[in-house]
C-alpha cells in the first residue's frame, strides 16, 4: 500500500512536470507576438514605404543595442503623414504629453547574457537570421527561440567564438 501510494505520488509529480514543461515551450504556430502600445506595422513602413532598417535602428552597427527610434524620429514624418489615423493620433498624444513609448520587448535575453549587435553586424549576420522576416510582419512576432543552444549552433557553424566569456561576463 505504501509502495503504491509512493508510486502514484511520483508519477503524478512527473506528469505535472511534463505538462508544465510542454505548456511553456515556445511553439512555432503560436509565436510570442505581444500587443504593443501603438499598432506599428513594419510591413507598411518597410515594404510599402521603403524605409531602411538603419533609419530607425541605427545604433546596431555601433553599439551592442540596435536602438529604438525616439518619439521625435517618428514625429519627423507623422507630424504630417497620416495624422488622422487612430494609431498615429496615439503617437501624437505621446509626443504632446512628452512621454516615451513603452514598447514591449519581443527579443529579450537574460541579464547575464551580453549580446552585441555591433559584433554581429560586423560579421555580416543579417537581421532576418535572428529576427525573422520582420519587414513582412504587421505585428512583430518572435521567430526564433533565442535559447543558448540555438546561438551556439550558429556560432559553431560560422566559426565564431564559443568561449563562455564571449557573452557571459
Amino acid at each position: 500500500m505504501q509502495a503504491l501510494r509512493r508510486s502514484i505520488l511520483l508519477a503524478g509529480a512527473a506528469l505535472v512536470t511534463v505538462i508544465i514543461a510542454a505548456e511553456v515551450q515556445p511553439r512555432p504556430e503560436h509565436p510570442f507576438a505581444p500587443e504593443q502600445p501603438i499598432a506599428f506595422s513594419h510591413r507598411v513602413h518597410v515594404i510599402d514605404d521603403g524605409i531602411d532598417c538603419a533609419y530607425c535602428h541605427g545604433a546596431a552597427r555601433r553599439s551592442r543595442f540596435a536602438g529604438i527610434p525616439s518619439v521625435e524620429r517618428c514625429m519627423g514624418c507623422h507630424e504630417i503623414v497620416l495624422h488622422e489615423h487612430p494609431e498615429v493620433e496615439k503617437l501624437a498624444r505621446y509626443w504632446q504629453y512628452r512621454a516615451p513609448i513603452r514598447w514591449v520587448k519581443v527579443y529579450s535575453v537574460p541579464g547575464f547574457v551580453r549580446f552585441s549587435h555591433e559584433a554581429h553586424m560586423r560579421a555580416r549576420v543579417s537581421c532576418a537570421r535572428c529576427h525573422g522576416a520582420v519587414e513582412s510582419m504587421d505585428v512583430v512576432a518572435r521567430a526564433t527561440s533565442l535559447q543558448m543552444g540555438w546561438c551556439i549552433d550558429c556560432h559553431r557553424s560560422m566559426h565564431a567564438p564559443v568561449d563562455c566569456l564571449t557573452c557571459h561576463f
Partner: protein, 977 residues
C-alpha cells in the same frame, strides 16, 4: 514518509517549478528617448574631461558616462598633476554623486526648527530679501563668505559679489591649511608660500610625518614621483626614505626606516640634524647665515637624545647621509601633527634643507600654490569671535563643513547660532547645515561648470558630465541671479546669463573647444625660473621650543591621523570608503585608538576594549587597537569618524577626534599636536572589524613575504642557485593560440594606497556588505591590499620598516585549483589565459573558493542592495550578480572585450597598452601593468622575465598569470654600515 521518497518527490516537484521559468516570455520594455541626443549612442560610453573636487590637489578627471549618466571616474592622462591616475577618493566621487542622502532640493527652516522643502523661487527670494535687508540697514559689511578653496571663476564671482555689497569678509577654509608651512617659508626665505617638491630627483628623502603618499598637498602627483624615486633603485641602489614620526602612517610604512619619536618631538630631531650638519667638519654647501649655528646650538644630538629617544649616533648617521646624498629632500610635519609649535617644525625642516643645499633643487619656491590663499585656523577663530559678537548678519557657507572640522572647543557651532541668517550650498546634510536657516544645494562637481587651478600653468576646467540628479542649482547661478536682484554694482560683473557663460567669459579662451577636450589649459612646466633664495636671519623671528627636561606625565600624547580614504571626513558617506580597509590598520567601518603594547599593558587595555580618551577639551570613546606602529608615548586616533549628521553610512560611526583638540591656535594653526589625553579602559568594546589581523610572515624564510624584498643587485643570489620546485603536470598544458593575458605588479612602487580597490568596486559592480558582513568575512572586494611586515629589526639605530603592500587578486592561474573542483563547469580556463567564472552556471557549492590558495573568490551570500540612486552608478557592461553565485576578478574582461570590439571596428589589431583594467588604470604609482604574455615585446612579458620576478605561492604549481616584482632594499642595508 521515507526520507528517500520525500527527496524524490521534492526533486521532481522542483523541476516542475523550474520548468515554468523556461518559457522565454518576457515582460521587458524597450523605452526609447523622447528626443535623442546626437552625442548619446545607447551603450557606447562618452568621456568628459573635468577636474576632481574631492580635495584641493585639483587632479584632472575623465568622467565616463553611458546613456547620459556617470558610471566611472578616471584620471585625465593630459593633466600635468596626476597624469591619468586617481586616488581612492577620486574614484569614490561617483558614489558621492549618487549619494542617497543628498538634498533633493532647497530646504528652509520652519519656525519650529525643522526642515521643509521649498521651491527654488521661494528659496532664492528668501536669500535676496535677507541680502537686501542687510544692505539696506547699512550692514553690507556684515555679510560673509566661508567656503572651500576657489580659484578662477568662483573666486572672482564670490569676490565681486562681496565687494558689491560692501563686505571684505571672505575666507577660503580647508581643515588642512598648511599655515605653519607657509609661515615657515615666510620666515626663512621671505615668501609666504608652499614650496614645490621634487621627489624623483632626490637621492634621499627624510620625512617628519608629511603624508605625501596619502593626503598631503598633492598625493597622486607625489605618489607618481615617489614611484620614480624608488624605481631608480632597481638599476642603481642608493639612498633611502627615512621617516621621523610618532606613528606609522601609510607614508611611513613605505619608508625604508622609521624613527619613532614621542608626539611633538619631531622638531627636536630636525634641529639636532641641523646642529649635526652645521657643526660637522665636512661642512655642507649651505647658504646658511652664521646665526643659524648659534640658534641651533642648544639642540645637539646629545642634548635632545633623552627627549626624543633617538641616539646621537643615529642623528649623526642620518645627517651624514642627508648631506652626502645631495640633492636630498626633507619634508615637514604631518597634516595633523607638528607638536606644540608646528611653525618651529616646518622652519627647522626648511633649515635642514637649506644647510644641505637642497633649496632651489629638490625644494623650490619658484611658483606659488593656490593653497597659499587658504585661511589659517587663526582666521577661523577670528571669524568665530566675530559671529559670537554679533558682527556677522548673513553667512554664506560653500563646500565646507567647519562645525565638524573644527574642535568643539573653538565654539564655532554656538557662534554660528548667533548669526541671524546662515545659508549653506551644501549637497548633503552635514554638521554645519544643522545650524543653517536655508540650504540651496549646489550641484556635485561632476554636474558642474567651473574651474580650479592648483598652481600657475595648470588651469583645470570643470564641465558637467551629466544633468543634475536632483533639483539643485549651481552656486554660481544663484550668486549671479542674487547679485542682479539686489542691483549689485558694477552690473557688468554679473552680466553673464548663467554660470556656464560666466566661466566661459572668464576663460576668454580662443581654443575653448580644445580646453574642453583637454580638461583645461596646461602650460609647459619648465617655464618658471627659480629665483635666488637667501636664507634669512631667524634670531629675532622665531624661538625654537625648549627641550623638555621632565618626562611627560602618565597621559599620552594625542596623534590625530588621516587615512587616504577618509581624509577629513568630507566623503565619509561614500560606502566604498568605509568598506575598503584602512591601509595601515586594515580596519573597516569604524575608528580606533591605537596604543603601543607597552602603554596598553600599563593601562590594562587589551585589543578591542572600549577605551575613553579624555583631554582638557573633551572626551571620546573608541575601540582600542594595540599596535607597535605607534610610539609608546602616543595614542593615535583617525579623523573622519564620529560624524553626527543624518548620513546613513557616515553618521554615528566611531569617535570624533576633533572633540579632543583645544581651541587656542598655535602659530596660527589648529593645535593638532598639543592635546594630551588620559586613556582608560571602559569595558568590553564592540569589536573593531579588522580584515587582516596577521601581517607577520611565518618564520620559514622561503615563503612570502620575506622574499618579497631583495637586497641590492650586488648581493642577489644568482639565478642558478635558487632551488627549483618540482614542476609536475597531471594534465596537458593549456594552449593560448592568440592572446594570453597577464599582469605584473611591482611591489617596489606599490604604496598600499588602495586606489585600485576602490576603482575595482566602481568598475565591476562589487557590492558593499556593511560592517556586520565584514565581521563575518564576507567582504566582496575582488582585489585587496595585503600588508606584510618582516621581523622588526634595527639598523643604525633606525627601525627598518620592511613593510610590503601586496595587491592580491585572482591570479588567473594556468593550473587553477578552483577549476578542477567545480561540479558544473562554471569556472574553466579560457583560451586567452583567463580563469573564467560564468555566473549563470554557478550553483554555489563554494568548493572553488575552498580550493583557492589565494582566497580571492567571493561568494554572494545574499542579494545585495544598492539604495537608490546608487544603482545608477552600476556599470552596464558587467553583470550584477545575484545571490548564490561566486565572483572574482576577471582582469576586467569587459574592457578586454570592448578593446577587441574597438579594434574590430577600426579594422586593426590590438597593441600593447590598448587594454587597461580598472586597477592598473588608476594606480598613482604605476605599479600594475597589464598586457599580452604571448607578445614578447609587451611590457608585461618583459617584466615577467625580470630578475626581480616571482609568483605568489609559486611552489604550489598554480602557474599564475600575475608576476610580482620584488621590492629593492636601499643600499647598505644588508651590511648595516
Amino acid at each position: 514518509m521515507e526520507r528517500r521518497d520525500f527527496l524524490k518527490i521534492a526533486g521532481v516537484g522542483a523541476s516542475a517549478a523550474l520548468a515554468d521559468g523556461c518559457s522565454g516570455q518576457s515582460t521587458d520594455r524597450l523605452i526609447p528617448y523622447l528626443v535623442a541626443s546626437d552625442n548619446v549612442v545607447p551603450g557606447v560610453p562618452a568621456y568628459y574631461a573635468t577636474t576632481c573636487g574631492a580635495c584641493p590637489a585639483g587632479c584632472g578627471l575623465l568622467a565616463k558616462t553611458i546613456d547620459g549618466r556617470v558610471i566611472k571616474a578616471e584620471g585625465n592622462p593630459r593633466h600635468p598633476i596626476n597624469a591619468g591616475r586617481l586616488c581612492a577618493r577620486g574614484q569614490a566621487s561617483v558614489q558621492s554623486l549618487y549619494d542617497p542622502d543628498r538634498f533633493r532640493g532647497p530646504v528652509g527652516r520652519t519656525s519650529n526648527g525643522s526642515w521643509q522643502p521649498i521651491s527654488w523661487e521661494t528659496a532664492e527670494s528668501l536669500l535676496v530679501t535677507k541680502l537686501r535687508d542687510t544692505i539696506g540697514r547699512g550692514r553690507g559689511g556684515a555679510v560673509a563668505w566661508l567656503g572651500g578653496l576657489q580659484t578662477g571663476s568662483m573666486e572672482r564671482l564670490s569676490g565681486d559679489l562681496l565687494k558689491a555689497v560692501g563686505s571684505e569678509r571672505r575666507l577660503f577654509y580647508e581643515p588642512f591649511e598648511y599655515g605653519a608651512l607657509r609661515r615657515a617659508a615666510e620666515l626663512t626665505v621671505g615668501r609666504r608660500q608652499i614650496p614645490s617638491y621634487d621627489f624623483d630627483t632626490a637621492n634621499f628623502v627624510l620625512s617628519f610625518g608629511a603624508e605625501f603618499l596619502e593626503s598631503w598637498l598633492s598625493p597622486v602627483e607625489f605618489a607618481g614621483a615617489f614611484a620614480r624615486f624608488r624605481q631608480r633603485r632597481v638599476a642603481d641602489p642608493f639612498g633611502a626614505f627615512i621617516a621621523v614620526a610618532p606613528r606609522q602612517s601609510l607614508t611611513v610604512l613605505n619608508a625604508d626606516g622609521w624613527v619613532p619619536v614621542p608626539p611633538g618631538s619631531e622638531v627636536l630631531v630636525a634641529l639636532s640634524l641641523v646642529h649635526a650638519i652645521v657643526n660637522a667638519t665636512a661642512a655642507s654647501t649651505s647658504a646658511a647665515p652664521s646665526s643659524i649655528q648659534s640658534q641651533v646650538a642648544p639642540y645637539s644630538p646629545e642634548a635632545t637624545a633623552r627627549a626624543t629617544g633617538v641616539a646621537p649616533e643615529t642623528v649623526r648617521g642620518l645627517a651624514r647621509q642627508f648631506v652626502n646624498s645631495s640633492p636630498s629632500l626633507a619634508v615637514g610635519g604631518s597634516l595633523t601633527g607638528g607638536g606644540a609649535d608646528p611653525v618651529a617644525l616646518e622652519t627647522a625642516v626648511l633649515l635642514l634643507n637649506a644647510v644641505a643645499g637642497n633649496i632651489g633643487r629638490t625644494i623650490r619656491f619658484d611658483r606659488p600654490s593656490s593653497l597659499d590663499a587658504l585661511a589659517t585656523y587663526s582666521d577661523m577663530v577670528d571669524l568665530t569671535r566675530a559671529m559670537a559678537g554679533g558682527q556677522i548678519d548673513l553667512l554664506l557657507v560653500h563646500q565646507t563643513n567647519p562645525v565638524y572640522t573644527l574642535p568643539a572647543a573653538t565654539g564655532f557651532g554656538p557662534a554660528l547660532d548667533r548669526v541671524p541668517f546662515v545659508v549653506s550650498f551644501s549637497r548633503e546634510p552635514d554638521e554645519t547645515t544643522a545650524h543653517a536657516h536655508l540650504v540651496l544645494p549646489d550641484h556635485h562637481f561632476l554636474e558642474s561648470w567651473g574651474d580650479y587651478s592648483p598652481r600657475p600653468g595648470v588651469e583645470g576646467l570643470r564641465q558637467p558630465a551629466m544633468s543634475p540628479m536632483f533639483s539643485t542649482q549651481a552656486a554660481g547661478d544663484v550668486l549671479l541671479r542674487t547679485a542682479r536682484a539686489v542691483g549689485a554694482q558694477p552690473p557688468d560683473a554679473f552680466r553673464a546669463h548663467d554660470y556656464a557663460q560666466y566661466v566661459r567669459d572668464y576663460w576668454n579662451d580662443r581654443a575653448w573647444e580644445e580646453s574642453l577636450k583637454n580638461g583645461g589649459r596646461f602650460a609647459r612646466q619648465d617655464s618658471m625660473s627659480p629665483p635666488e633664495e637667501t636664507l634669512r636671519d631667524l634670531t629675532s623671528t622665531i624661538a625654537f621650543p625648549s627641550i623638555p627636561s621632565t618626562a611627560p606625565g602618565n597621559d599620552l600624547g594625542l596623534i590625530v591621523c588621516t587615512s587616504p580614504l577618509l581624509y577629513d571626513g568630507r566623503d565619509a558617506n561614500a560606502s566604498w570608503l568605509q568598506e575598503v580597509p584602512d591601509p595601515v590598520t586594515k580596519s573597516v567601518w569604524n575608528g580606533y585608538a591605537e596604543v603601543h603594547p607597552d602603554a596598553a599593558r600599563g593601562l590594562g587595555i587589551a585589543d578591542g576594549d572600549a577605551v575613553t580618551l579624555e583631554s582638557s577639551s573633551g572626551r571620546i570613546t573608541a575601540a582600542a587597537r594595540v599596535s607597535s606602529g605607534v610610539h609608546p608615548a602616543g595614542v593615535a586616533v583617525p579623523l573622519g569618524y564620529g560624524r553626527s549628521a543624518p548620513l546613513r553610512y557616515a553618521g554615528g560611526r566611531g569617535a570624533n577626534a576633533f572633540a579632543l583638540l583645544s581651541a587656542a591656535p598655535v602659530g596660527g594653526s589648529l593645535p593638532w599636536g598639543t592635546a594630551r589625553v588620559k586613556v582608560a579602559r571602559a569595558g568590553n568594546g564592540r569589536r573593531l572589524v579588522v580584515l587582516q589581523t596577521e601581517t607577520r610572515s611565518s618564520a620559514d624564510r622561503s615563503r612570502l613575504p620575506l622574499d618579497a624584498i631583495i637586497r641590492p643587485a650586488s648581493v642577489i643570489q644568482p639565478p642558478g642557485t635558487t632551488p627549483p620546485h618540482r614542476e609536475s603536470d597531471l594534465y596537458s598544458r593549456h594552449e593560448h593560440p592568440e592572446h594570453r593575458w597577464g599582469m605584473a605588479i611591482d611591489l617596489n612602487t606599490c604604496t598600499g594606497c588602495s586606489a585600485c580597490v576602490v576603482a575595482c568596486y566602481a568598475e565591476n559592480n562589487v557590492p558593499v556588505v556593511g560592517e556586520a558582513g565584514c565581521a563575518d568575512g564576507r567582504e566582496m572586494s575582488w582585489i585587496r591590499i595585503e600588508r606584510y611586515d618582516a621581523e622588526a629589526r634595527m639598523s643604525q639605530g633606525i627601525r627598518r620598516t620592511d613593510t610590503v603592500s601586496m595587491p592580491m587578486l585572482c591570479q588567473q592561474c594556468d593550473e587553477a585549483p578552483c577549476e578542477a573542483v567545480c561540479p558544473v563547469f562554471a569556472t574553466y580556463h579560457n583560451p586567452e589565459g583567463l580563469n573564467a567564472q560564468v555566473y549563470a552556471r554557478c550553483v554555489g557549492t563554494r568548493f572553488c573558493s575552498n580550493n583557492c590558495p589565494y582566497k580571492v573568490r567571493r561568494f554572494n551570500w545574499t542579494r545585495y542592495e544598492w539604495p537608490s540612486p546608487l544603482e545608477l552608478q552600476l556599470n552596464p557592461d558587467v553583470t550584477v550578480r545575484s545571490s548564490g553565485v561566486m565572483e572574482k576578478c576577471t582582469f576586467c574582461v569587459q574592457r578586454i572585450q570592448a578593446a577587441k570590439n574597438d579594434a574590430g571596428r577600426a579594422n586593426s589589431t590590438l597593441s600593447d597598452g590598448d587594454i587597461t583594467p580598472a586597477c592598473a588604470q588608476t594606480c598613482p604609482a604605476h605599479a600594475i601593468v597589464f598586457g599580452d604574455l604571448n607578445d614578447p615585446a609587451s611590457r608585461v612579458s618583459r617584466l615577467a622575465g625580470d630578475r626581480r620576478a616571482f609568483r605568489a605561492l609559486e611552489e604550489l604549481n598554480t602557474r599564475p598569470a600575475i608576476t610580482y616584482l620584488k621590492r629593492v632594499a636601499p643600499a647598505g642595508d644588508a651590511k648595516g654600515t
